[in-house]
């Protein structure tokens, strides 16, 4: 298949899943698509399986905390998709309520999501539903809190080791 422009990629998505896309930002460095959280699993499956899209590589998953958003605090999960077969790429965002950030795991669609989702869970605290082993990957197993949340306060000590010296 051939390389598609971002507009064409969105057209394919809207043709198959008309209600999934809520927002498009096409004038930035990376064209961004915002997808409903409950539709993300279907969008991901379509992105991989539709031969016109052919997103065979999930490059990265990122979580960002926005505690002061208008209309309620949010956590964004950003997925960077690449198609090696077709040579195009896409950035998909899912916006979640900060009080209960839950989104479907795409581990069964792209195996590489396993560790990426664990990292996003560890540092930002997003719950990926359906993940087979959602435990911390970078911090110690019994670490408290999610360090990349904006209101995170590091512990004064951890297991008898002083953590604040100045």
């Amino acid at each position: 298949m051939a390389r598609l422009e971002t507009g064409q990629i969105i057209a394919v998505l809207k043709e198959k899943l008309p209600d999934a896309v809520t927002e498009e930002v096409l004038d930035g460095v990376d064209p961004i698509l915002v997808v409903k959280a409950e539709a993300w699993s279907a969008v991901a499956e379509l992105c991989r399986d539709d031969s016109r899209l052919g997103f065979d590589l999930l490059s990265c998953i990122t979580g960002v905390d926005y505690p002061e958003r208008e209309g309620g605090a949010e956590i964004e999960v950003i997925y960077n998709l690449d198609s090696i077969a077709n040579g195009h790429e896409l950035t998909v965002k899912v916006k979640l309520p900060r009080s209960d950030p839950r989104v479907a795991s795409v581990e069964s669609i792209w195996a590489t999501a396993d560790w990426h989702e664990r990292e996003t869970y560890d540092l930002v605290g997003v719950i990926f539903e359906g993940h087979h082993n959602l435990v911390r990957i970078l911090c110690a197993d019994d670490w408290v809190g999610h360090p990349l949340r904006k209101d995170y306060e590091p512990p004064d000590s951890f297991h008898g080791i002083k953590n604040v010296i100045y």
Binding site: C139, A140, H159, I161, N163, Y166
Partner: protein, 179 residues
Amino acid sequence: MTEIENRNPDPLTKNVVLMTAVDDIINATRANSVWPLTFGLACCAIEMMATGAAKYDLDRFGSGPFRGTPRQSDLMVVAGTVTHKMAPRVKRLYDQMPEPKYVIAMGGCVIRGGPYVKHGYHVVKGVDLVIPVDVYIPGCPPRPEALLEGIFKVQKLMKREKILDRTRRTTKPEVYQPV
């Protein structure tokens, strides 16, 4: 009194007797065969490897054999950022080393947390909060010459050992062990 047969055939040294203290001979052998633990945590470990490689050639000072087990090592070079997740492993490795044992804290992160001292929630602010340290080498990372100098300092410490001194170097018991 029986006469001990002198088998030395060299006429120059035939009747020379070298007198020394047990401490001195033990310490001389110990200081000239420092065996570090193969153990690197971050970028400082690259400089440590460079120190061991051909250009800086740690073997010149008897310190070449990086051992693969703490049970055969007498020097631990903590080279790289120690995180809270790694700290109990560092302590366990230290506890497994036989006495007498020495620790070099290599680089800013190991001495006081380095660039992570204020906002690094995951970094131990100095490995001396976990295990006792003998020599501190500042730098980010220290040059191989600096690590060599640090090993010379350890050798000087080794030459002060007393065979009858039974002091034990202990770690803090409140630091937990990983399961």
